[in-house]
């Protein structure tokens, strides 16, 4: 069903899961005015690495990138894949931990955290084990059909209390407006831009897609990036939004809809986003096991996937509080930067080489 659209849809919805929670907090913390400048900078960064990455992937055709890299140069492969593995492992742990905390803050305050983390790990594990990556992509399709409507509904209502004048001044006239480059939390929010583009390189042997559709999908994300930051700012003002842990969610909490039988529409938004986050976690799990199997040891997924999830759970239990998590996230940005710049470049160069080699062989 809609085979060519599966990958772009998964690309969009996993990003949606990441965009609305931590990203606005970090971005607002990093700049005081003209927030669209850092947003666009991040977005262009995403487009650039995506363009390089997709170009490289296309050169590989339907071949498994890991295999080709391994064959070409073990040293290069390890320099690329080991950081990726580490990065994915950290992402899995942090995502589970942060979102468990978010669930606890937003709706289940009495439920112990480990149960919530368990839930956030078991379901993705099930998704990966039951259907593999193909099943995962189809799950993404179904989830988007089920949950996108409610998200769009809530987003449409989010404009209820805005005051456009809070967006002023529109043009940056002060060199201070570019000070976000030196603010550490700006690099934290790049996570939302480059958090999950990596999977694009590893699915082609299993699920086919057209690079163009993914590129269009990432363009569709731009309004979401803008909304996630600008809706809280336009509703509350920058000074107020800065005070809040999750400004976007708080802004949604201020929406009043007279005719609906439900009082808190936030719930619909957060639930839908959490469904997408579960998909994101399962994607990370799959990537981890997939890279592990093709580069280190080909264990059966039946053993490897539960192993990865139990490990993730174990590490999650050792993180004491949200602050430590955020600190980890800050350190992770270095790895994130390395992975999101080096991997696309390596893939592009290796792809070129591979492509030429294939041509020569055909001749």
């Amino acid at each position: 069903m809609l085979k060519n659209l599966q990958v772009p849809i998964v690309f969009i919805i996993t990003h949606m899961g990441l965009i609305f929670f931590l990203y606005p907090t970090d971005l607002i913390a990093s700049s005081k005015e003209t927030q669209w400048v850092p947003i666009f900078t991040g977005f262009l960064f995403q487009l650039a690495i995506m363009a390089v990455y997709l170009k490289g992937i296309r050169l590989f055709g339907n071949e498994n990138i890991i295999h080709v890299l391994m064959k070409k140069s073990r040293w290069l492969a390890w320099a690329t894949l080991l950081p990726v593995l580490l990065h994915l492992g950290i992402i899995a742990v942090l995502t589970v931990r942060i979102y468990a905390e978010i669930i606890s803050i937003i709706f289940l305050s009495n439920t112990p955290l480990w149960i919530l983390m368990c839930l956030l790990i078991t379901i993705p594990t099930y998704i990966v084990m039951h259907g593999g990556v193909r099943g995962l992509m189809r799950t993404g399709l179904l989830l988007s059909l089920l949950f996108l409507i409610s998200i769009l509904f809530v987003l449409a209502y989010a404009f209820q209390n805005i005051d456009p004048r809070y967006a002023l001044p529109l043009l940056p006239d002060d060199p201070k407006d570019f000070s976000f480059f030196v603010h550490p939390s700006y690099y934290k929010c790049l996570f939302a831009f480059s958090g999950c583009f990596l999977f694009l390189g590893f699915v082609p042997p299993y699920v086919a897609y057209k690079p163009k559709t993914v590129f269009i999908a990432s363009l569709l994300l731009l309004p979401l990036f803008l909304m996630a930051v600008y809706i809280p700012i336009l509703t509350l003002g920058e000074e107020t939004a800065r005070q809040l842990e999750f400004p976007f969610i708080f802004t949604i909490d201020t929406i009043e809809i007279d005719w609906l039988m439900f009082d808190r529409v936030t719930m619909f938004l957060v639930l839908s986003l959490l469904a997408f986050i579960m998909l994101f976690i399962s994607l990370v799990f799959w990537l981890l096991t997939n890279i592990f199997r093709h580069s280190i040891k080909d264990l059966k997924p039946k053993i490897l996937v539960p192993l990865v999830s139990v490990l993730t759970f174990g590490v999650c239990l050792f993180i004491p509080d949200l602050e430590t998590t955020e600190e980890f996230l800050q350190w992770e940005t270095i790895l994130l930067g390395y992975v999101s710049i080096v991997t696309p470049l390596v893939v592009l160069f290796a792809g070129r080489h591979h492509f030429k080699q294939m041509k020569r062989e055909i001749k």
Partner: protein
């Protein structure tokens, strides 16, 4: 087969292990609809208005207690009640004047911090001692005790000469450089349950002045709240504002902010005395609104509270440090030119003199 069994066992275990921590049936929760907070030298007294859940007699339950912090008092009440107090459905928070004058910042912050109380909860100042007010509500409640909630519901009892201020707006006004709010003020009525006594001008979460009901209507008109308020025009006519629109043009001249505002009012004539002409009614209305507004503006300017959000128009002209000084440096010097343009949409079933 084995796999399936394992999965089933896992699901059952999940259910058994999850002792349902957040699982508490709705009929075992007390859902207060209004909370009164009075503050007296570091000690809070909390009143809760809980519509009681019984089948035959609809009544409300007023419970009060005091302690050092809001949360402590609520825990205390919860302990002593037969069901758990859940503030999830709190709709109105009442504070007494003393608390409002002392400053609401901390109270608001703890409300915003709490995941239980929704940020759209209405915030109201009570113009009389809270115990008297709650006694009155208890005595005069005939329905299921939601009177105070309905009073502020836009699709129920709310009317345009009452301010409409959810908690998050107050929170915004505390932190924002250029936005203050007014909070409705009420007291117990003689023939009705609740009587509006105007609204309080808040500056950074502190009450600094008071508006009458008529001024509140103008405030609502100026802030673009879609109102349907009635205005008496100089003894010649009563008109109803059907819709209002406002256009602002801002300029900064040598650190003196100027705002040219044009208010477009669409009105219908309700009744007339002495057969005045439409032109007269329009003229009188324009004069009246302009005069009243200028008075209102002076009042606000004197209080130093930007309840109209006028500073918002200068966000492009001032730098951020300047904006931070908006209330002290710029607002007192500000000049507002108000023009009122009126369109009489219809005159009801009767014709009127041109």
């Amino acid at each position: 087969m084995k796999m399936m069994l394992m999965r089933m066992v896992a699901v059952v275990l999940l259910f058994l292990l999850s002792g349902c921590w957040d699982n508490k049936d709705i009929n075992h929760r007390s859902l207060p609809i209004a909370m009164g907070v009075s503050y007296n030298q570091g000690s809070y007294t909390i009143y809760l208005d809980i519509p009681s859940v019984t089948e035959d007699e609809e009544k409300i339950q007023i419970i009060s207690d005091h302690g050092d912090s809001i949360n402590e008092v609520i825990d205390h009440i919860s302990m002593n009640m037969e069901s758990q107090v859940d503030l999830l459905h709190l709709k109105v928070i009442l504070v007494d004047k003393a608390f409002a004058k002392h400053g609401l910042s901390e109270g608001i912050a703890s409300i915003i911090r709490s995941r239980y109380i929704a940020p759209k909860t209405m915030f109201v100042i009570c113009d009389e001692p809270l115990d008297h007010f709650f006694q009155h509500i208890d005595a005069s409640s005939t329905d299921d005790g939601t009177a105070i909630y309905d009073y502020f519901q836009k699709n129920a009892g709310w009317s345009p000469d009452i301010a409409y201020t959810p908690t998050w707006r107050i929170f915004r006004s505390i932190h924002s450089y250029t936005n203050d709010v007014v909070i409705p003020m009420i007291k117990s009525g003689d023939s009705t349950v609740i009587k509006s006594t105007g609204s309080a001008i808040m500056k950074n979460g502190k009450m600094v002045g008071k508006l009458t009901n008529e001024e509140t209507l103008l405030y609502n008109v100026f802030n673009g709240v879609n109102t349907q308020g009635k205005i008496e025009v100089m003894g010649h006519a009563t008109v109803q504002i059907v819709s209002s629109r406002i256009g602002n043009r801002s300029s900064l001249e040598q650190d003196q902010p100027r705002l040219r505002s044009t208010v477009h009012l669409k009105i219908t004539v309700m009744d007339t005395r002495g057969n005045p002409s439409m032109v007269l009614i329009k003229k009188e209305l324009q004069e009246l609104v302009t005069r009243e507004f200028m008075l209102l503006f002076q009042k606000v300017q004197k209080a130093g509270a930007d309840v109209f959000g006028l500073g918002q128009h200068f966000r492009d002209d001032l730098t951020r440090p300047q904006l931070a000084r908006w209330r002290t440096d710029y607002l007192p010097n500000m000049k507002v030119d108000l023009h009122v343009k009126t369109i009489v949409r219809n005159t009801g079933n009767l014709k009127a003199r041109k």
